[in-house]
């Protein structure tokens, strides 16, 4: 009985965890910015998740649970500690008001048309890790605010304000990239105020 229970648990774990392998690796690589470290991080995440799976309540959000393990593991890694030392990771952002409206003629369409995928990836890469992770969870993993809140262990208000700041910072990064790539004629021709 004990054995079949363990098998059932292993089966459930496999069923839930294996489909997330590629996504977890992608997220881990964005966090660590290094292939070997991403592999270590994913491996450690799976070991911890399997070990702690008995504490996971079936029917609750497994994706948020395993992403949270990955993120916490990252934060205790050498690179994660470096990040937390340089940036106050969970600083309170709720005081920030809502994102100001983008100016009418902000040329995001133009900006995107002119930006290559490479420069967008570079701009994401250059974001501080707390902006990078929330943007990826929202746009790439398509997590709801509630899932992001569960994953990052922050209130939904913080999710909203951090996401807003992440997007604003990304636009600004893209703007800089575009100006660097295209030279002064772009800045002269359009209003890029963000």
């Amino acid at each position: 009985m004990a054995l079949s229970g363990a098998n059932l648990q292993l089966d459930s774990f496999e069923e839930l965890a294996i489909p997330l392998f590629d996504q977890l690796y992608n997220f881990a690589h964005w966090l660590t910015q290094n292939r070997e470290e991403a592999e270590d991080l994913v491996q450690e995440t799976y070991v911890k998740a399997l070990k702690g799976f008995s504490s996971f309540q079936l029917g609750t959000n497994f994706r948020a649970w395993i992403y949270r393990i990955l993120r916490n593991t990252f934060l205790t890694s050498r690179k994660g500690l470096k990040v937390t030392m340089t940036v106050p990771f969970d600083f309170d952002e709720d005081e920030e008001g809502p994102e100001p409206a983008i100016e009418r003629d902000t040329p995001e369409t133009l900006m995107l048309a002119r930006s290559s995928q490479e420069s967008l990836q570079q701009a994401i890469d250059e974001l501080p890790v707390h902006f990078r992770e929330i943007l990826l969870l929202c746009e790439v993993e398509e997590m709801s605010y509630q899932e992001i809140s569960d994953t990052l262990a922050v209130p939904i208000g913080t999710v909203m304000s951090r996401l807003s700041r992440a997007r604003r910072t990304l636009r600004s990064q893209l703007q800089s990239h575009l100006q660097r790539e295209a030279g002064p004629q772009i800045a002269r021709g359009t209003n890029h105020g963000l």
């Binding site: 004990a2 270590d40 491996q43 890694s77 009418r104 369409t109 995107l112 930006s115 990836q121 807003s164």
Partner: protein
Amino acid sequence: MVCESWKARLDTYLDREVPEQEMRTFDSHVRNCASCSADALSRVQLKRAIQVAGKRFTPSAEFRKRMQQSMLPKPRRSFHLGWMLAAAAAMVLVVGTLTSTYLRNRSGRDQAFSEIADLHVATLASSSPVDVISTDRHTVKPWFQGRIPFAFNLPELQNSEFSLLGGRMTYLEQTPGAHLIYDVRKHHISVFIFQERSLPARLSDNAPQPGQLSFNAETWSQGGLRYFVIGDASAADIEGLAKLFKAAS
């Protein structure tokens, strides 16, 4: 500027995170407002571009294979083997019933040791096993300041065969602790230190019996801290390092 209040919530709307009733009002406004409509379009384009650009990294075939071999699905057992396992399970159940009281007392401790063994192995297998690399205890000890909620002493290793390799932060059952790695005749030994009161269940001072764990291990509590020493070095070496720690604390 009429639309400023709408635009301030445009991202939330595009993330489909405004309440349903408000969603309909938003839909209607965006459809009829050229400014908001253009703004929404450009933001959606950015969202889509991030979505594509964000799916950037894929695991290598080698890593995928390694993971499959180590922990991803094992080949399904044959029907015959399944029955053998079922019979074995029945035996386990009988024996388990007889020994359940004994096991209950030990399970918490054994689980902790099993976790400790996992942490030891996972760390040594990592490409960066330590976060502070130093043989000097006066460098390693201060590194933990502000990272863990307690202080501890490291032993003087002069005239001993042990050498300190470095340390890193670790977690046991979500409790932060210190993980130190020592070397003795090419064997690595891990020393884990946690606050006794933060650990979920009190542990006895008896390490698992030889054979229960593929490592030699020792544990004790001193000054409110719980120490674990574990490694594939001889039992005498594990005991020797434990003694140095006990003397230093």
